[in-house]
Amino acid sequence: MAEKAKAKAKTGSRSKTGGQPEYVQLLTPEGDRVEHPEYSVSFTDDELRSLYRDLVTVRRLDAEATALQRQGELGLWAGLLGQEAAQVGAGRALRPQDMAFPTYREHGVLYTRGIDPIMPFGLFRGVDQGAWDPNEFKFNMYTIVIGAQTLHAAGYAMGIQNDGAVGDDNGEAVIAFFGDGASSQGDVNESMVFAAAYNSPIVFFCQNNQYAISEPVARQTRVPLYQRAQGFGFPGIRVDGNDVLAVYAVTKAAMDNARRGNGPTMIEAYTYRMAPHTTSDDPTRYRQSAEVEEWKAKDPIARLGAYLNNQGLADETFLADVEKQAGVEAVSLRERVLSLPNPAPESMFDHVYAGGSHHLDAQRAEFVAYEATFEGGAH
C-alpha cells in the first residue's frame, strides 16, 4: 500500500534539479531559457530589464533593512534574501484589481505593487503595527500569526464572488502568501476547504524556502507541498521559485484562471531562505553552510543577469545604473526610516474601537492626567 503515497511527478513539467521533484522552470540556474509545454512568457527587453531592476532593488532594500536592524534602528527584520524571484515574479503577475494577503516577509511583493517600501518599516521599528489600509493598496497588512491571513484571503475571495466581480479577464482575484511551515496550520487547511467549497477566485502561494525557522520542510510534510491542493480538489503546481520568469508565468496563469471563475490553485515556489529567519535568528545552529553554498549557485538574480548578458540586454551602463538607483532608493529609505516619528504615548489609546468606548476614554484621561504629573511630561 505504501507506494500509493509516492510522489507523482506533475504532468507537463520537465526540469529536474538535484534530485528534487520536478517543477516548472523557464530559466536554468546558468541563465539558459528552457521551454515548457504549458507555461511561457513573452516579455519585451525592457520588461526583462525592469524585472532585473526589481530583483536587485528589493535585495538592496532588504540589505539596508538588515543593516538598520543591526544598528539598532529596527527591532527586528524578516529578510527575503534568496526569495526575490518568488516575490517579484508573483507580484508582477498581479493585476491592479487583485488583492494580496502577505505574511511578514513579502517586501518584494509589496515593492512590485508600486507601494512605497517604507510601508512595513513602522512595524519593524516598533512605531506602529503595520498601519495601512489594505483596500487602498490592495495589499493586506502583514500578518504575523502563521496562516491566519489565508482565511482572510479566502473570505475576501468569497466577497469578490458575491460582488459578481469574477468571470472574465477583468475579474478580480486574490493571492494568499504563506510559508512551508504555515502549511501545517489548521487555518491554512481550512482556507483551502473554504476556497474549494465556494470555488473562490484565490491563489495559494506557498514560498517553500525550506525552513520554518530551524525546522526543515520535512518536519511539515513528506510529500511535495503543492500536492496538498489535490486533496482539497483543486490543482497544485510547483515552480522553481528562484526563476522569476517561471514564477511569473505560473502565477499569472493561476490568477487569470481564478479571475475567470475557474477557482483556486495552489502554487509552491521552491526556493531558499539565504539569510537567517529574522535578525534574531542564528541559522548556524541548524544548517550547514554547504547547503547555503549549494543554493547560492541557484541565485535568482545571478541567473536573470546571466540571461540578460547572454542576450546582450544588459551592458555595463545598465548594470551600473541598476546598482546606483537601488542604492539611491536604499539611502532614501534609510533616511525616511530614521525619521519615522515615535508615536505619542497617549496615541496608544486611539483606534481600539471605531465607535469609541466611554470606558477607554476615561482610562485615557486618567493616563493623560497621570503623565502630566511629571515635570516636562517625561519620566
Binding site: 495601512w132 466577497g159 482556507s191 483606534h351 470606558h359
Partner: protein, 326 residues
C-alpha cells in the same frame, strides 16, 4: 407597526431580517443556518428569502468561519456569524482575539471590522457537554472586542440590529434557555444605545446586577424579596464590555449593597470586575462587600446536576441575606 408577542428567538430572527433588508452588505454565516435555519431556528426562513449568498452555510470549521468573515469585512461586507453553541467557539479563538479584535487597532483605524459573532450561551437546557457554557469573560477581557448580551425579546430585537450596525466587532451572547420565552416586542421601535445598562426595577435596599439568562432570576428574586419587605433594584448590564457603570454606581450609592449574578464560573467571571470596579468607585457607600452568585469553579457539570450549579432564586436571596447580615 403594533407590538407583537414574540419569543426571544423570533425577535432575533426579526432583527436579523430587518438588518438584512436595511443593508445589502449584511451577510449571515454559520453551520446549518440555511435550510435548517440554525439548530435554534434563529435564521429560520432567511436563506429562502435572501438567497445562499447572503445566508451562507459554511464548512464545519469555526476558525474558518470567523477568518473568512474577517476577509468579507475587509471586502466591505458586514458578516454576522453564528457559532452553533458556546462550547464550539474555541477553535475560532485566535481569529477572534488576535485577528478580529486587533485589526482596527493595527491599521490605526483605517480598517473597520463590523463583524458580529452570535453565541447561544449558558445552561439550564439539559444538554450534553460543551452545550451550556458561558465564555463571555474570555471575550470581555480582550481589548478590541465589545461584548453584549440580551435578556428579553424586546431588547433582542433592537440589540442585534445595533450590533450589526456597529463598526466594531461585537460578541453577541444569546441566552439560549430564554430563546422560547415570549414578550411583547414593538417592531417599530428605534434601536437604543447598545452599550447601556438598564434599571429594570427600582429599589432602595439592595442592588442586583445580572445579564442574559440570569436577569429573569434577578427579577424573580427581587419580587420574592419584596415579600420579605426588601426593596431591590435590578439592573440588566446588557453590555459586558464596555460596561455602563453609571447606573450601577448610582444604584449602589443609593442602596449600599450589591449582588452580581452570572452562570459563568466565579473566578475571573464578569462579577470579579464588577466587584472590583464598584469597590473602587463606591468604597464608602458599600455596607458589605459585593456578593457574587455564580457558577462554581468547575467545568460545566453533567446536566442532572446543572440546577445545583446554576444560580437560582434561593442562592440570590441567600446572597442578599449575606449582604444584609454583614
Amino acid at each position: 407597526m403594533a407590538a407583537e408577542t414574540l419569543t426571544l428567538a423570533k425577535a432575533l430572527n426579526n432583527g436579523l431580517r430587518k438588518a438584512m433588508e436595511d443593508d445589502p452588505k449584511v451577510v449571515l454565516m454559520g453551520e446549518d443556518i440555511g435550510k435548517l435555519g440554525g439548530v435554534f431556528r434563529i435564521t429560520d426562513g432567511l436563506q429562502k428569502d435572501f438567497g445562499e449568498n447572503r445566508v451562507i452555510d459554511t464548512p464545519l470549521a469555526e476558525s474558518g468561519i470567523v477568518g473568512t468573515a474577517i476577509g468579507l469585512a475587509i471586502r466591505g461586507y458586514r458578516p454576522v456569524v453564528e457559532i452553533q453553541f458556546d462550547g464550539f467557539v474555541y477553535p475560532a479563538y485566535d481569529q477572534i482575539v488576535s485577528q478580529l479584535a486587533k485589526m482596527h487597532y493595527r491599521s490605526r483605524g483605517k480598517l473597520k471590522l463590523p463583524v458580529v459573532i452570535r453565541i447561544p450561551f449558558g445552561g439550564g437546557i439539559g444538554a450534553v457537554e460543551h452545550h451550556s457554557e458561558s465564555p463571555e469573560a474570555y471575550f470581555a477581557h480582550t481589548a478590541g472586542l465589545k461584548v453584549v448580551s440580551c435578556s428579553n425579546p424586546a431588547d433582542a430585537y433592537w440589540m442585534i440590529q445595533e450590533a450589526i450596525a456597529s463598526d466594531d466587532p461585537i460578541v453577541f451572547m444569546e441566552p439560549k434557555r430564554r430563546y422560547y420565552e415570549k414578550a411583547s416586542v414593538d417592531l417599530s421601535v428605534k434601536p437604543g444605545s447598545l452599550f447601556t445598562s438598564a434599571v429594570l426595577r427600582e429599589g432602595s435596599d439592595a442592588t442586583i446586577v445580572a445579564y442574559g439568562p440570569m436577569v429573569k432570576v434577578a427579577l424573580e428574586s427581587a419580587a420574592a424579596a419584596e415579600e420579605d419587605g426588601r426593596s431591590i433594584e435590578v439592573i440588566d448590564m446588557r453590555s459586558l464590555s464596555p460596561v455602563d457603570y453609571a447606573p450601577i454606581f448610582a444604584s449602589v450609592r443609593k442602596t449600599g449593597r450589591l449582588v452580581v449574578v452570572h452562570e459563568a464560573s466565579k473566578n475571573l467571571g464578569i462579577g470579579a470586575e464588577v466587584s472590583a470596579r464598584v469597590t473602587e468607585e463606591c468604597f464608602y457607600s458599600l455596607e458589605a462587600p459585593v456578593q457574587r452568585v455564580t457558577g462554581y469553579d468547575i467545568p460545566y457539570p453533567a446536566s442532572r446536576v446543572e440546577e445545583e450549579f446554576l444560580p437560582d432564586l434561593d442562592r440570590v436571596l441567600d446572597a442578599v441575606d449575606k449582604s444584609f447580615g454583614w
